[in-house]
Subunit: 523 residues, 2 copies
């Protein structure tokens, strides 16, 4: 934070001309009578420059929407302008955005949302009664019976009750308390809010935040913003990206030399790595957190996305309670869910929730205070979250269609997970662990020494170089492993499996052809 | 940031029993076979406590949803439980939440939103064609033609174009560039994002952020979160809360002793103070920012809320351009708008935009990077913003109804602004400046010395004491002036004028009766 030269504001010539140079309305000219118009000069020094800006923000990286995605946008514009490419469209496989990939919204969810948005529709015979019932319940809990009012900063009461009931069902009866539920603007908002509260200290007592490597780069970005210390623990690629507690021990031991490790982040099912943690592994992690006095963050947004028949999702909350009161009344845990993933894929609504366990009552007050500064999460996103946790049940009018739609999405995802794993593993120089869950493949790619040299000549990470070439030659946009972190000398990329089956097959074939050519070129 | 004792984690006994104590499911008991259940003990020390938490977050205050609002919630619960009070309902006049106060949504806006939410409705004859046209345009610009996809982090392209076209119309032809428009999660998000980028330095070169006193407490809260320095400039209460540039000069001069003043925040029309700045005043402010090399933040969310016949809204952007190229190609400005205020009052959708002027191209890149970490603003809020800036025009089917609804809301607000000012000024010991704009009264109240003593005995600010008494005796919830800042020795409260006319009259009468009784009691 110390910047001795902060007062020195270095000038930079902007690359674009001042907009005023383009057109000057006569109304404007007229009204400027009070001050005489001075001769036009080139812009003077800017106040806000790369040199003067917040250095912690400058240090933030976020690969999922980083340079490769900007390049993809440029290529799309070139295609629109008719510039010839070896492909006709850009396929944005960089992000888990189901509906952008053609997945249809769950009908029931959108019906309830439309009813909430425009309550006149409650009189329409073309909407089912169970959807109307849900909409009425949500609206009655909203100020002025409207999605347009602010909600409580913690979220609409009845939606928090529905979330708590969902968690209790999911966890086989382990109780959940609506007071421990905070509705959020997507899971990202919850994660960054709780981290914001947790981070403190300076020098050697700065807060260390343990994250998996590979990680979802929200974590590293928020850690950088908050000027906390990122403490890496490596997932075991040779063992299907499993989390090994010995590696946690190594990481925390080494971290204690230079910071105060206080938080342990877990992503289960894994992003970008797709592993689903065993119950035993979760128990070991909780025991470790208990021993080491770590605050647990469990990112469980892919809890509905488990495909391997041998795997099951276990929530940290449930395992914590099953371990007995020594743990369940001591270990501090925040877990996260979202409307964006699962089978509904409602990313745009920015709905989510956080459940906190054993949070000190005074900290709960601090949390509500902090949330209240941003007033409330989007109420439409809260409504979407309600439908996710409170879908039609057997006997209700919409149940059959809802179940069909849900099974179709999840069944297809399971098929695509297997297909992707199988196809990647047929390519020489690509190894792909089983996609047990989530919605990404994170294959390891062999990059020949000559390609590594070429990348260095372009001042690029070797896998960024690889992904740029893939984009330029095939139109397929994936994210280099370096954006998630990986063991040194290994290279990966993350690709979503969300495209429809036939399109996904084409994508995989194209990656295969590209990879073989790439190996030949740089052999 | 230096906290020598950060590693010392002080324990606190939680006030609530661990939830595990309440019920233990048999499934849970069964599954805990792996680890032996240890005897239950009282919880050990918490990791996250008031002592160990982020001190900057602890320092945050946000009065609009602070202790008085928590108390209001408690009283509501007591009323529900049948506890007798001298009133039958709590009136939440603490926040500008139009629809919670019974204002009906603008029909056209909700029709377009419903069509976007559930596109099957595009075939329904009960929706007007102009609403369908808007909905199709928005959907075509969304990934997968769905509000459920992530948008670009800067916002949906066509909505940014519509915002730019709106600004150009509003400002009499001064051009706006869609590249300078960033859609946000309400205005609060835009304001805190740009402040986050602006803040840097340590010690005497920490960033100073100038804010009006009284202010909207988002500003002080974000400044505290970011560990920046709050630099107060006082609005002139004797002169209808006008902004005086000499006071800006005083504030910046004094601030330079201990920080680097880099940002000047303006709220126009004023919140909580309701003044509308004259064109001359805006010109003076811009000249001052230019001289002092300050980055301007113009919070213009009440731009549609101007009631005094003598006042007009002038945007900072327009005045900046009218002042000629010396200013318009140099002064860095970010201005903010929102779906929450105006005549639509769609607070719950969390829609907003920020327009930046003269932002360095490299900083634009940094801004998009930072926004991309949170993926995108809620797409439904973006759609709501689109309708706000692109409403029906003459000749379109919905124009007449839209205009009627808009005029009705704004006409009523103007009436209520005058009514509130007049009634408050009839009360001895209350003085209220004209409510030229926005949606609040911020009357000055006389608090007798005996009441000040009584407040001190309760360890409360005198106006907090006053507002608590008002709440307890009348059910009316307003926010003490100390939550916004005020000159020492003066006392105020903020009350929204949003209740329907008849209800507002009752509220004002109750405040009057309370105030007279209060003066008598503490005479």
């Amino acid at each position: 934070m110390q910047r001795a030269a902060a007062l020195v504001r270095r000038g930079c010539s902007p690359r674009t001309p001042g907009p005023w140079g383009r057109s000057q309305s006569s109304a404007a000219a007229e009204a400027s009578a009070v001050l005489k118009v001075r001769p036009e000069r080139s812009p003077r020094e800017r106040i806000l420059t790369l040199e003067s800006m917040n250095p912690q923000v400058k240090a933030v990286e976020y690969a999922v929407r980083g340079p490769i995605v900007l390049k993809a946008g440029e290529i799309e514009l070139e295609l629109q302008r008719g510039i010839k490419k070896p492909f006709t469209e850009v396929i944005r496989a960089n992000i888990g955005d189901a509906q952008a990939m053609g997945q249809q919204p769950i009908t029931f969810l959108r019906q309830v949302m439309a009813l909430c948005t425009y309550p006149n529709l409650l009189n329409s015979p073309s909407f089912p009664e169970d959807a109307k019932k849900r909409a009425r319940r949500i609206l009655q809990a909203c100020g002025g019976n409207s999605l347009g009012s602010y909600s409580a900063s913690q979220g609409v009461n009845c939606i928090r009750e529905d979330v708590a009931a969902y968690i209790t069902r999911r966890d086989g009866g382990v109780p959940a308390d609506p007071d421990n539920i905070y509705l959020t603007t997507g899971a990202s908002d919850g994660i960054s809010t709780i981290l914001k509260i947790l981070v403190s200290g300076g020098g050697k007592s700065r807060t260390g935040v343990m994250i998996p490597i590979p990680q979802y780069p929200l974590y590293s970005a928020v850690i950088s913003e908050l000027d906390a210390i990122q403490v890496n623990y490596y997932l075991d690629e040779e063992n299907c990206w499993a989390l090994n507690v010995n590696e946690l021990r190594r990481a925390v031991r080494e971290a204690k030399d230079h910071c105060d490790p206080k938080v342990l982040c877990i992503i289960n099912p894994g992003n970008p790595t797709g592993q689903v943690q065993s119950r035993k592994c979760i128990e070991d992690v909780i025991h470790f957190a208990w021993e080491e006095k770590l605050f647990l963050l469990a990112d469980e947004v892919y809890q509905d996305n488990v495909y391997s028949p041998d795997c099951r999702f276990h929530s940290f909350k449930k395992v914590l309670y099953e371990m007995g009161p020594e743990y369940s009344s001591n270990v501090e845990l925040a877990s996260f869910h979202s409307t964006s993933k699962g089978y509904m894929g409602e990313c745009g609504y920015r709905g989510g929730y956080m459940e906190v366990i054993n949070l000190h009552p005074e900290i709960k007050g601090q949390l509500v205070k902090l949330l209240s500064v941003r007033l409330c999460p989007p109420v439409s996103g809260q409504a979407a979250m309600d439908i996710v946790v409170n879908p039609p049940v057997p006997g209700e009018e919409s149940f059959e269609q809802f179940s069909r739609e849900k099974e179709s999405v999840l069944g297809n995802l399971a098929k695509k997970a297997k297909l992707t794993e199988d196809l990647f593993n047929q390519v020489p120089g690509i190894h792909c662990n089983p996609l047990q869950g989530a919605m990404y493949a994170f294959p390891r790619i062999f990059i020949p020494a000559k390609a590594v040299e070429a990348a260095q000549a372009h001042k690029m990470a070797p896998d960024m170089f690889y992904c740029m070439k893939l984009l330029e030659e095939t139109g397929i946009c994936v994210v280099p492993g370096s954006g998630f972190g990986q063991r040194e000398g290994t290279y990966h990329f993350r690709m979503t499996i969300l495209p429809p089956v036939e399109k996904l097959k084409t994508v995989l074939q194209k990656v295969k052809d590209f990879h073989i050519k790439f190996l030949e070129k740089y052999a």
